[in-house]
Symmetry: C2
Subunit: 286 residues, 2 copies
């Protein structure tokens, strides 16, 4: 398998994640080819200097590719995996950037033998989506999860690591099931909480015009992720239903405990709960 | 009633909020006197140049004060209101910075006739507390809620407005009950959600050391407010129990609805819910 600087990288999906990856890889590989079904996205990526070549044709895009990165919502990745395999050159490393890994890795296992599959999930993003929001610094300093399959060769995993480091990320090898469990709590659960919070405010306080003047940083930060791309989040939630369900169940119990401590005026219990949480949060983010 | 620049302002409680207020008022009033029961806090405030005079003696602190601002947790404010009234000079404006207003304003109604009471709640704060975290810019650009009583004179309210503008805030007159309803949803509810989220992660994923490497911006922002001062939050929750209970009840229903849409794979319903939330969030914070 070639080294990165002698490899053509083809990026499928020129949105925030794919466009940012292209920008971050510029000058670090032989060439960057971008594919999107929307000609406007291809043209915008070319105009921004993110690509050496852009196309809407799948076969033309993956021709001579040493690495293909799928940078679309999760269920589009699943559909692409159904058709993409036979088109890929021998020994091609096929990665993805999807936020859930179990279903993707299971489908990657069905790829033709000449392909080297590797699940990927960079821990970064933005509320704004699309090529217009692309930022070559998006991946810098972030953990980039890699979920290899039993069939993934040592060389293919090594090339995957090299790519993550080339964009400034820190690679972390994590089995797909374990990644979906962890992401279910630290990423997918916060999204649902934020959505339920905005929906609550919309149903109650938003009737009072004064609320817009008093909304402070607490609400803004707690609700931030709810502005994310709906298609991306739909795919995440629908492909991680079981882990999300479990995480929400634990969460609902914790919230009920808190409410009960307040209602029963159990101040010692409430203080202990809030004190533990504060200590844990300070440990998480010193 | 005197104008601000000819008025001595006494600040009771030299923590984050009181210390920041002192710094922001520097040069905009005749003198700033600071009171704290802890001599170290008084010394630190003096060393930072936030005060003209500092003391741990209540009578000495309020002597000749034209404005007294109570900058302590809510239930300390309630206790101070029991004893402070008779010590205050005639026509003294007595304000507070407490995050809930109903109980405080009810107690302010019992103050001796020679005092002018005015509830206050600046919509700003930080996770770090104490005089060490004081920042004269803390109030700049933020809404500063004022809850006058029927007995509050026009001049007293006007002086209160002048003070809020002097520190860079935008005054907003709001009746105490209405402020507690709104703050219950846009401030106190987010705190409880953040606490339940951290507690959930602590009970489940924190057992896996990899979680510390994949925690991304979503979790960090959604959980930020949970690191706030526990005493302050205890007082807020215990003095706004009914509004908090109502807000959590609506919220729990919204979260259950979301979970049900996911579990039943009602994709059209889920997409409509998430799309509405996203549109509302973008309307709130364009």
């Amino acid at each position: 398998m070639k080294e990165l600087h002698r490899t053509q990288v083809t990026i499928v999906g020129l949105g925030l994640m794919g466009g940012s990856l292209a920008g971050a890889l510029r000058g670090r590989c032989r060439s960057i080819v971008g594919l999107d079904r929307r000609p406007e996205a291809v043209e915008e990526a070319l105009a921004r200097g993110l690509l050496d070549r852009g196309t809407t044709d799948m076969e033309a895009a993956v021709h001579q590719a040493g690495i293909v990165v799928l940078a679309t919502p999760v269920r589009t990745i699943l559909r692409l995996l159904d058709t993409l395999g036979p088109l890929l050159p021998a020994d091609c490393l096929l990665m993805d950037l999807g936020s859930t890994k179990r279903e993707i890795v299971a489908k990657m296992a069905q790829l033709p033998d000449h392909v080297q599959p590797l699940g990927g999930h960079p821990m970064c993003g933005k509320e704004r989506s699309g090529i217009e929001a692309a930022d070559p610094e998006l991946y810098r300093g972030r953990t980039f999860i890699l979920s290899p399959l039993p069939r993934t060769s040592t060389q293919a995993l090594s090339l995957g690591r090299t790519l993550t480091r080339a964009v400034g990320s820190i690679p972390l090898v994590l089995e797909a099931e374990r990644q979906d469990f962890l992401a279910g709590t630290v990423s997918h659960l916060p999204y649902l909480l934020a959505c339920a919070l905005v929906s609550t405010a919309d149903a109650t306080t938003s009737k009072d015009p004064a609320v817009w003047e008093i909304v402070a940083g607490g609400f803004r930060d707690t609700s931030r992720v709810s502005a994310g791309n709906v298609t991306m989040w739909m795919d995440i939630l629908m492909t991680n239903r079981e882990q999300v369900r479990k995480a929400v169940a634990v969460y609902q119990k914790k919230l009920s405990d808190l409410v009960q401590l307040i209602a029963s005026e159990d101040e010692a219990g409430l203080q202990a709960f809030l004190g533990d949480v504060r200590a844990k949060r300070l440990e998480m983010f010193p």
